[in-house]
Symmetry: C2
Subunit: 65 residues, 2 copies
């Protein structure tokens, strides 16, 4: 399922997928596929994304409550 919260957090920081990818240290495709929910990132990638966007794991990757 799509990760809307990730996309929104990225856009709030005014970053393109490519810019976020560069900061996180992955490729544009990896960010794109995570936002689309087409795969299952590793914990280290999740944490790197969270740190870059000033969010926590629960805020971006835990299921909605």
């Amino acid at each position: 399922m799509k990760n809307i919260r990730l996309k929104m957090a990225r856009i709030e920081m005014d970053l393109s997928q490519e810019e976020l990818a560069k900061k996180v240290g992955v490729t544009r495709q990896t960010i794109g596929l995570i936002e689309l929910g087409k795969y299952n990132p590793t914990l280290s990638v999740c944490i790197a994304i969270c740190k870059t966007l000033n969010k926590t794991l629960d805020e971006l990757f835990w299921e909605q409550s």
Copy 2:
């Protein structure tokens, strides 16, 4: 680095690594290696562990604050 919080949460539920692994749907080795910090689980495994132990991602996998 070792994941002490995971180990403590597991022991609080009175589960062995093997029992937790079975509930989560992975092998004993996967749980053991995650507790030892020797690898980098996927998000889906992290979420399955959290649900089994009634914890959130931040509680078990986000860095200590």
